[in-house]
Structure formats: structure tokens, C-alpha cells
């Protein structure tokens, strides 16, 4: 396989990748910015290289610095994780030039899928069902009005180079278009360095379902089933499950085959995800390909028993896929909750601070992918994802019950987290019955404090008895401190001091 792998990322995903490397007997190299010296990925890795100041542009997004660290460490592979440089073909190309293996799809496939309008054009010609909309970028605002009229409101403005909900705006009516146009364009420019945007029909009440793909250099591609990712806030995923409660075997096979067909068409290799929208009438549309390891890959791993990161290394090293489609079986149900440092009671705004204490859940069927530790300062420079809590159950019902149990064991003190939101979802009827779509958060979540069981009187009691005990102990300590002194002396001293 590889001798030494540099992980061009931070947080939970860097830790996840390091763990796979260690199990496979490969040395690991972490890179870190100024504020990540104490981060878990640095502590877990065999080697660590400083790559610059906190802002991602000067560290984790700086290809030169990463290639420099890789050369200094004599790494023979680079895993980009997700986010940062994962879908930037320039890193894959830099690796090719340096003779280092990039753990991901070839730069050409990345380039093709990363440019949404050109990939839409290609796929439309091949007869792949797409969300109705444009296959090239908008020229100006006037054209946006014209195209929106043609497609029919509501529409979605999207960044051609985009992903992860950035540079995306919903437009319900023509009045909203100018503002949304400007906002999407500037967000696209700042997030992706490319301000081209286009329009798609907004499919209302749709579910977001994606197919996990795995391919090798020899044109073999398999799919590992689907993930349901409809619980979102601000177009960003919060909860994922595998399988989806909306699909039956026939649909699963049809969508899986379609995803494999697309991957083969663009000569895809390594891990990737085909994203689909699934509407109220059971119709599905291909949305885009995420040419990387996904945040939510552990739910697929749980039901298939396949370590996707290890498979990535194997195919990148030139091995043939060891899996054929008829030998991939899924068992049970998995759910993932993303634990963000955000305040669900205040519009999911980031919550900065120091993690004062943390206790992670464990026990049967529980997996925590974490980049957080007690004493950690939550940096404002990066994604506020702290950890992912993933559970497996024999049935969906068992998985939900297990998630509730695991959430109740999870303590993170010092910053606000999305744990209360997840507790709410796991107790919500629509979710439990599997009847939900991407509008769930907007429709169901209320910011009034939600409590499964009213524990506030116990919490008040706890604070009072701890305060009481502490004060008693302090009083005792003061007594013993002065006990070496004669009581007359200490009394005299007290009197003397009182007089002055």
C-alpha cells in the first residue's frame, strides 16, 4: 500500500483517516495551522507539520504549503478528507506532478463534476434525469429574470462551482430575484473563487437521497446503497440515515444503477456520491456528484460493514475493487447526527468558546467520530462541526431508540451544541414515521426550549447542593489552614485587622 500518508485536513475527518491508516500499517502526517497545535489530529498523527496562520486560505487551503510539507515528510500519498481542497482539481494535479498519490478521483473527473453547468450539459445529452434548469451560467440579472420565468417559480440560484449550500438562494417570486442574485454571486465568488451561477427549478417537498459509489482505475464501479439526508438547516445536512425510509428495493436498484452509469460515463474512480432529489410523487432527479469522501459516510459503513476509507486507499494504490455488486449486502439501519457548535435556540448561530468538559457516549452500536476534547477552543475560522454521533440498530426503530439513548449520554459543556435539536428530531412523530423532507427543520423545529423530560428542578437542585457542599468544604479548609496557629493568635489578628 502506501508508506506514509499526509492528511490535508483537520478535525474529526482527519482523525478518522489517521485511524484507518494506523490499522493498515501506514505512517501518518498531520498538517496544522497556528490555532490547531493542540488539535486531536496533530496528537494522533506520527508526524506533524505547521503550515501557517489560522485563516484556511493561508493554511489548509494553501496547496504549496501542503505539498511542501508532503515533500519534507516524504509522504507518498495525500488524503484530502472533505471540504478544504478535497474537490479542488489543482491539488490532485499537484500530486500527479510531485509523484504523490492523491486519494480521490482523478483531476479530470473532479473538474468535470465540479463544474455543475457543464456536467449538467453532458448528462442531459446522455438522457440522465436532471432537475429542470439551465445547463450554462447566467450572463446577467436580466437573463436571470427571463430564465426564471421560463423555468417557472420557485427557482433555486446555484453556484456553478458550488456545493455544501454555499452560493445557493431560493427565489419564490420575481421580487426576490435581484437580492438573491447578488447574494449568490458574491457568496459563490468568496467561497469558490468563481462567481458563475445558474438557475434550477426548486422541487418543493423533495427528499435528498444520495448513492455511495466506489470505483477503481479499471472501470469497475459499484454502489453501496443510498443515504437519506433530508434533515437539514440552511441547506446543510444535520441528520443522515441509511437506508432511506422512502425507497423500496426496486427504486434502490434503479437509482443505484443510474449512479453507477454516471460514474462510468465520467471515468470516475475512488469514492464519490451521486446526489438525487426525490419528489413527492416518487420521481427522482440527479442533482450532482460529490467527488470526495462524504461527511456522512459512516452510516453506509455501518450497514454494509465496509470501511470506505480503507477501500479508497486500496483502489488508489491500484488494486482492483474487491467487491462486486452482488456481494454487497446491507444489514439493519444506521443514523448519524452531526454535532455542531451552534445554538439551535438561536437560529443555529455558531457558538464560540472553550469546551470545558466532554463525555462521549458509547455502548452497543454507537460510534463517535470526534475532533473535540476538553479544553479545546472552538475556532471561528473553520466549519463548526465538532463530532458525528452514529448509531446502528437491527431496525430503524432500534436505531432511533439507540440514538436517543446515546444523545442522553453525550455531555459537552462550555459551548452550545445541536444536541437538543437532535433530541427533538428523535422524538418527533414525522421523523419516527419516516415521513419527512428537506423542509422538516423549517416546518417542525420550534425554538421554544424543548425538553424530553423536565429536568430543570433536578438541575436547580444539583447546582444548589454542589454549591452548598463546596462552601462547606471551603469553610473546613479555612479552619484547617489556620489550625496550626493558636486560636488566641488568630482571634487577636482578626480583632486587630478589624480596627484599622
Amino acid at each position: 500500500m502506501f508508506r506514509k500518508v499526509l492528511i490535508a485536513n483537520r478535525g474529526e475527518i482527519a482523525v478518522r483517516i489517521i485511524r484507518a491508516c494506523r490499522e493498515m500499517g501506514m505512517k501518518t502526517v498531520a498538517v496544522y495551522s497556528e490555532i490547531d497545535r493542540n488539535a486531536l489530529h496533530v496528537r494522533f498523527a506520527d508526524e506533524a507539520y505547521f503550515i501557517g496562520p489560522a485563516p484556511a486560505k493561508e493554511s489548509y487551503l494553501n496547496i504549496d504549503k501542503i505539498m511542501h510539507a508532503a515533500a519534507a515528510a516524504r509522504a507518498d500519498a495525500i488524503h484530502p478528507g472533505y471540504g478544504f481542497l478535497a474537490e479542488n482539481p489543482a491539488l490532485a494535479e499537484a500530486c500527479d506532478t510531485a509523484g504523490i498519490t492523491f486519494i480521490g478521483p482523478p483531476a479530470a473527473a473532479q473538474r468535470l463534476m465540479g463544474e455543475k453547468t457543464s456536467s449538467r450539459r453532458l448528462l442531459q445529452q446522455a438522457g440522465i434525469p436532471l432537475v429542470p434548469g439551465m445547463v450554462r451560467g447566467l450572463q446577467d440579472e436580466a437573463e436571470a429574470f427571463k430564465m426564471a420565468e421560463e423555468i417557472g417559480y420557485p427557482v433555486l440560484i446555484k453556484a456553478a462551482a458550488g456545493g455544501g449550500g454555499k452560493g445557493m438562494r431560493t427565489v419564490l417570486s420575481p421580487e426576490q430575484l435581484p437580492d438573491a442574485y447578488r447574494a449568490a454571486k458574491s457568496e459563490a465568488a468568496s467561497s469558490f473563487g468563481d462567481d458563475s451561477i445558474y438557475l434550477e427549478k426548486l422541487i418543493e417537498g423533495a427528499r435528498h437521497i444520495e448513492i455511495q459509489l466506489l470505483g477503481d482505475y479499471y472501470g469497475n464501479v459499484v454502489h453501496l446503497g443510498e443515504r437519506e439526508c433530508s434533515i437539514q438547516r440552511r441547506n446543510q445536512k444535520m441528520i443522515e440515515e441509511c437506508p432511506s425510509p422512502a425507497l423500496d428495493d426496486r427504486l434502490r436498484e434503479a437509482m443505484g444503477d443510474l449512479a453507477v452509469r454516471i460514474a462510468k460515463m465520467v471515468r470516475y474512480s475512488n469514492a464519490g456520491t451521486a446526489e438525487f432529489l426525490f419528489d413527492k410523487h416518487g420521481k427522482y432527479y440527479f442533482l450532482e456528484m460529490n467527488a470526495r469522501l462524504q461527511v456522512e459516510h459512516p452510516v453506509t459503513e455501518f450497514v454494509n460493514g465496509i470501511d470506505i476509507v480503507k477501500e479508497q486507499f486500496a483502489v488508489a494504490a491500484g488494486q482492483k475493487l474487491r467487491l462486486s455488486q452482488d456481494r454487497i449486502f446491507s444489514k439493519g439501519w444506521a443514523i448519524e447526527c452531526r454535532i455542531y457548535a451552534e445554538d439551535p435556540y438561536n437560529h443555529f448561530l455558531p457558538s464560540l468558546g472553550i469546551v470545558r468538559a466532554i463525555q462521549e457516549p458509547s455502548g452497543p452500536g454507537v460510534r463517535v467520530e470526534s475532533g473535540v476534547f476538553s479544553g479545546m477552543v472552538i475556532p471561528l475560522h473553520y466549519d463548526p462541526l465538532l463530532s458525528k454521533l452514529v448509531v446502528w440498530g437491527n431496525t430503524r426503530r432500534e436505531a432511533i431508540d439507540r440514538m436517543r439513548r446515546a444523545l442522553s449520554e453525550y455531555y459537552i459543556l462550555g459551548v452550545k451544541t445541536t444536541i437538543p435539536f437532535h433530541q427533538f428530531v428523535m422524538n418527533n412523530d414525522s421523523f419516527i414515521q419516516g415521513r419527512y423532507d428537506t423542509s422538516f427543520e423549517e416546518k417542525e423545529w420550534r425554538e421554544e426550549a424543548f425538553e424530553i423530560e423536565d429536568l430543570s428542578s433536578v438541575a436547580a437542585l444539583a447546582a444548589a447542593v454542589v454549591a452548598h457542599t463546596r462552601r462547606k468544604r471551603e469553610a473546613n479548609a479555612r479552619c484547617s489552614e489556620t489550625s496550626g496557629l493558636s486560636p488566641w493568635k488568630s482571634l487577636g489578628r482578626q480583632y486587630a485587622l478589624r480596627r484599622c
Binding site: 459543556l413 452550545k416 437542585l461
Partner: protein
């Protein structure tokens, strides 16, 4: 001891009696038997309330109490009743104004003079150390100010009420 706890708009009156073997706690007049154990020596507690078992992280940060139980985090505003009452009735501590003579609180020996004429001093800063009955007593500045005059020196014996230092207004 009585406490007042506030969590958002919910108020609780809590009375802790720990004179006997077991801790008795009244929460809004409802009696409970409580056993509290600190697990990690700092913030992790096991709490058994009438044989119901809870685990809680309890932390005080800037006067606010954070209590995390079963995945939920509560912010508790806690005051003991005596403090609450005192805060209400006690006038703001009187800070002496103007020129201020500092006198020896008892007869003794000056073993150190820490300031000179013209020094700026902060409230609470020790100015003179006076040994009396083989104990060292610090004479501290009762407020911020400037040293107008130092009237004693090291090794000098003084009577009770002798003038030591005079402070004047200024920063």
C-alpha cells in the same frame, strides 16, 4: 441554608440541610433525600435523589452555574438567600474621601514601610507592616490615592493611634 435558583423563567426555592447523616433538600417545599458524590474531583457528579440516579456535569463559570444532564444543558442563576438579602439591603461599601490619615491599630514596631512620599497606591495595597504581639499586621490602603506624607520609619516603635501615613486624592 436556603438558595434561590432561576432557570430561564422558572424559579426554585431550595433549602439544604446537611447537619445530619443524610442531606435533606426541600425544592419548593417538597422534601428530598439527596446523596451527592463527586466522581472526578472537579465537575462530574453522581446524584441520587430519593433513590433516582442522575449523572450531572456541574460547573460554575462567572457566577453562572452550568448543569448538564441527559444531553441537556441548563444555566442556573443561583444565590443563597443570605447573599440575596444582603445584596438588597447592604449599602455600597463606604470609600473614605479626601485626605486620609492612617493610624496604627495597636502599639508595636514598624518592620517595613513599603511606600514613599508621592507614590500612587491602589486600594488594598499594603503600606506599612506593623509587628505587634509577635504578629505582623499589614496596614493597607483603604482606597486609591497618592501618598502625601510618611511619618514613620523602619524600626520605629509606635503607640496605638500614632499617625503612620497620610493619603490624599489622586491617581
Amino acid at each position: 441554608m436556603k438558595y434561590k435558583a432561576q432557570i430561564q423563567d422558572q424559579a426554585f426555592e431550595i433549602e439544604v440541610d446537611h447537619t445530619g447523616e443524610a442531606m435533606q433538600v426541600l425544592v419548593n417545599k417538597d422534601p428530598h433525600v439527596v446523596d451527592l458524590q463527586c466522581i472526578d474531583g472537579t465537575r462530574l457528579f453522581s446524584l441520587v435523589v430519593d433513590n433516582r440516579s442522575y449523572e450531572a456535569f456541574v460547573e460554575e463559570a462567572n457566577g453562572r452555574w452550568l448543569v448538564a444532564m441527559e444531553g441537556q444543558v441548563f444555566e442556573v442563576d443561583l444565590k443563597d438567600e443570605r447573599m440575596a438579602r444582603l445584596q438588597k439591603v447592604a449599602p455600597a461599601p463606604r470609600v473614605p474621601q479626601g485626605e486620609l490619615p492612617l493610624k496604627a491599630p495597636m502599639p508595636g514596631l514598624i518592620i517595613a514601610v513599603n511606600v514613599q512620599r508621592g507614590d500612587a497606591v491602589r486600594m488594598g495595597q499594603p503600606l506599612v507592616i506593623l509587628e505587634a504581639m509577635k504578629m505582623e499586621n499589614e496596614v493597607r490602603a483603604p482606597r486609591n490615592g497618592l501618598v502625601k506624607e510618611v511619618l514613620v520609619g523602619k524600626g520605629q516603635k509606635v503607640d496605638q493611634g500614632a499617625l503612620l501615613v497620610i493619603l490624599q486624592e489622586g491617581d
